[in-house]
Amino acid sequence: MKGITLKYVCKRLLSALFTLWVALTFNFLLPRMMGGDPAEYLASQNAMGSAEYAQQIREQFGLDKGILEQYARYLGGLLQGDLGVSYTNFPIPVKDIILQAMPWTLLIVLISTLLSFLIAWLVGTVAALKKGSLFDNTVVGVSFYIQSVPYFLVAMLLVMGLGYHLNWFPMGHAMTPGADLANMGALVKNIAYHAFLPVLSLVIVSLAGRMIMMRSNILQVFSEDYIVLAQAKGLRRSKILTKYALRNAMLPSFTGLMLSLGQAVGGAIATEMIFSYPGIGLTIMNAVLSHDYPLVQGCFAIIALSVVLLNFLADLIYPLIDPRVSLE
């Protein structure tokens, strides 16, 4: 573990914790700054706008307490791993709601993120090596085209084309409604079949940018002096690529991967809506719309935590793959 000192780790850890605290505080303040009172809203929807009913709701949720006391309770709860109780889905704990949605989000978002980076790295590298060829021109052209198409359009075209008209894939859901899937193999197959279109849509739209980035990174590295030197010394192209160029060209992409993985827990709202797929994205959107403070806070806390955590991990891994990162 050459290069990683305790001081470096402590510094990174402290900065991560500070970032987390700032994020969590904004998390607490932002929903309360939206305007509109959740208790009054519930009362106007369900109880003829009764002021007494609104007051009972406020007491039930602790909204009658001062803002500082609410903040203290919120931070105190977080330290004990308690994310509170949802307003609109009272008395369901926020933790349960998140735990239920998270596996599906992670399934499609993680798989599509990893796949998209993998494909982007491969295709981008090949395109860079064959710069100016038909393959390179096609890749770059198609990438720019796809990059400019909005995600929801891609997803809807997939649903309408491959789902509705051709019937090759289901138009939605994580598995077949009402199917008896007691057999583990059948269950996995069924889930994979249903996840195909959502994953495909996410890969398609995220691929282009990453591919172009990888291609230009490689091209840039290849123009560096040390590569020219290696070429002049007669090293084989494949050796230059694997031994020197790739490692440096991957660095920016690696940061991108870590960030994407951290953001994965935020889900993909459009994917969930268009493919009627369960997940955390829609949960967040609906919580925001109905001013369900604890649910909003809980979801964003998880997102903040995972982004900070993966950044911290990236900080730890980075010196190992790039010793130039100064540790002092």
Binding site: M34, G35, G36, D37, P38, E40, Y41, L42, S44, N46, A47, M48, G49, S50, A51, Y53, Q56, I57, Q60, S86, T88, N89, F90, P91, I92, I97, Q100, A101, W104, V159, Y164, H165, N167, M171, G172, H173, A174, M175, T176, P177, G178, A179, D180, A186, K189, N190, E272, M273, I274, S276, Y277, P278, G279, L282, T283, N286, L289, S290, H291, L295
Partner: protein, 579 residues
């Protein structure tokens, strides 16, 4: 103008339908006899390969001979726009965040409110009787009803449910215990004692689902999430799969007759367009009311497709703040109401999938209480509207906006952001008001923000819906009694967001609150509706109606054997496979 508008939209809808049909979609034009099997089969294959060998038990039709000759068995597939968060809590007493369609198939109230007939019908109570003073309501319970676990339903369950409401005020959404003093079970009777006469108690009880005492008394009802719901209704909860479906079995012992299907599968969709696509594709036999309104023409062009439209307990309108000095003038309100082309609003904004809000407020579900004359008194008449303003002394300025004493008719107009239909309808209404000569300053806000604006009166015009219970008195009292409002800046104690104050209305409401004679009440409500129609309190839009799309005769039929909404328990038990 109106005609041209409609035909243009019809033509567009037709074009879209043709385009879709031409794109080689699933066979929309299969003959009616072959359709059911075909669509079932293609649906199975579209879902998964696995489900092919295990054919749905459609063949078991002849298994159980029923009294009549209709086919039975099979699975009824209902699509619902429902989120997983709404399935986390299956407590039927919770007032928000639950999936009510499912809960209403499992749990029943003492009486159900039939929105089509506008009257109460027996459910867990076989009959009920008031004493002369209307302070004591006695129910005789339905002795045929049984809980899904086999235990007999009893009057004790009713008394227990009411005691839970008493101990947990947030479950008692209509604050019934403010007016009740006692609920006691006595043999097969339950007696509700009120502090004073409470004519509409029975209507309110149609909103209270009864829970089983023998299971609930072991739990803390305040936090009980009821993972395996046990009720008395026609369908028994079987299984819930996250993000996918809810499976329910027919209750063979249902007191009103066992459902003719074996199962009901509720297919979950987490957006309205996706649910609509599932419907258009024939994945489901009906929805719980979800359909993207713009897809109604395409849906209705399909074979056997029908819509069941009926009035609901809520009205959308443009709420006017009567404390605004210009809106305080009845002539201004009248002219604005006359300038709105309501039929075009409903056809262009909602594709005729809803019923109009009437200027006299009470929707058709209140049956005989609805004052038909007042209801139909408002008609779109732009020139007439301008004449009303001119008669009242307003003159059109150079900018085309009416004014009087140097004050221009200019108002802010709030509506919901992130709600495309609401935004489109706001655009139509704003244009009509501009045609009249009224300036509009559009503003957007989230739904909860709209509520706060309404409560504090910080708005001129605000487009929103108002929900009320199945009680004409509450629907009128909470919205139009001057005691239910507050001066601008202070929160209203009720739904009188209009800040409407009328001594005449207050007097009529006071009289109605203690009246027990049906005929007199009908007359009083009639007078109140006349008054509203004359005062132009709001700009009517449409009623938050039930609009249920269903296929009658493709896979399932028997939806409309009884006069009630197609997805009411009374009709769902009659739904059966074709053939």
């Amino acid at each position: 103008m109106k005609k041209r508008g409609i035909s243009k939209w019809l033509a567009l809808a037709l074009a879209v339908a043709l385009l879709l049909a031409g794109c080689g979609g699933p066979p929309a034009s299969t003959s009616s006899t072959a359709a059911p099997q075909e669509s079932k089969a293609s649906e199975a294959s579209s879902q998964t390969e696995e489900s092919k060998p295990t054919e749905e038990p459609e063949e078991s039709v002849a298994d159980e001979p029923k009294a009549d000759s209709t086919a039975t068995g099979g699975t009824l597939r209902i699509g619902a726009y429902v989120l997983d968060t709404e399935l986390a809590n299956k407590n039927p007493l919770a007032t928000s965040g639950t999936f009510t369609f499912m809960l209403d198939r499992i749990y029943e109230p003492l009486l159900t409110y039939n929105e089509k007939k506008g009257e109460l019908e027996p459910a867990l109570a076989a009959e009920y009787e008031w004493d002369d003073a209307m302070t004591e309501l006695t129910f005789t319970i339905n002795s045929d009803a049984k809980w899904h676990d086999g235990t007999a339903f009893s009057a004790e369950d009713v008394a227990y449910t009411m005691s839970v409401l008493k101990d947990n005020p947030t479950y008692d959404q209509y604050a019934l215990w403010d007016k009740l003093s006692d609920v006691t079970a006595d043999g097969d009777k339950v007696v509700f004692t009120c502090k004073e006469s409470f004519v509409s108690l029975a209507q309110y009880l149609s909103k209270v689902r009864i829970v089983p005492k023998h299971l609930w008394e072991k739990e803390d009802p305040a936090t009980f999430t009821n993972d395996t719901p046990i009720g008395t209704g026609p369908f028994v909860f079987e299984k819930y799969t996250v993000g996918t479906s809810i499976e329910m079995n027919a209750n063979p012992d249902y007191w009103c007759g066992a459902p003719k299907v074996d199962k009901m599968l509720i297919v979950m969709y987490n957006s309205s367009p996706n649910c609509t696509l599932g419907l258009l594709n024939g994945e489901i036999d009906a929805t719980t009311g979800t359909i993207a309104m713009s897809s109604i023409p395409e849906f209705l062009s399909k074979e056997n497709a029908k819509m069941d439209i009926y009035a609901g307990l809520g009205n959308y309108s443009v709420i006017m703040n009567h404390e605004n000095e210009l809106l305080a003038d009845p002539a201004v309100r009248k002219a604005m109401a006359m300038a709105i082309n309501q039929p075009e609003l409903i056809s262009r904004g909602e594709y005729n999938g809803v019923l109009p809000t009437s200027i006299s407020w009470l929707p058709d579900l209140f049956g005989d209480y609805v004052n038909e004359e007042a209801k139909n008194s408002l008609e779109f008449d732009l020139e007439g509207a301008q004449a009303v303003l001119e008669e009242a002394g307003y003159t059109k300025g150079d900018d085309g906006i009416y004014q009087k004493d140097g004050k221009r008719l200019s108002f802010t107009y709030h509506n919901a952001s992130g709600a495309p239909a609401q935004q489109m309808e706001a655009g139509l209404i704003q244009q009509w008001l501009l045609n009249l000569g009224v300036e509009i300053i559009p503003k957007l806000a989230t739904w909860p923000e709209l509520t706060t604006l309404l409560q504090t009166g910080k708005y001129d015009l605000l487009q929103n819906g108002i929900n009320f219970p199945p009680d004409p008195y509450a629907a009128l009292n909470s919205c139009f009694n001057s005691s239910m409002t507050a001066p601008t800046g202070e929160p209203t104690p009720g739904l009188n967001y209009f800040r409407y104050r009328s001594d005449e209305m207050d007097a009529l409401l006071a009289q109605a609150s203690s009246e027990t004679d049906e005929e007199v009440l009908k007359d009083l409500y009639g007078q109140m509706q006349d008054l509203l129609a004359k005062d132009f309190v709001f700009l009517p839009m449409y009623n938050s109606s039930g609009h249920i799309p269903y296929y009658d005769g493709t896979a399932m039929t028997g939806w409309t054997d009884y006069e009630a909404p197609v997805i009411s328990n009374r009709n769902l038990i009659n739904v059966h496979p074709v053939g």
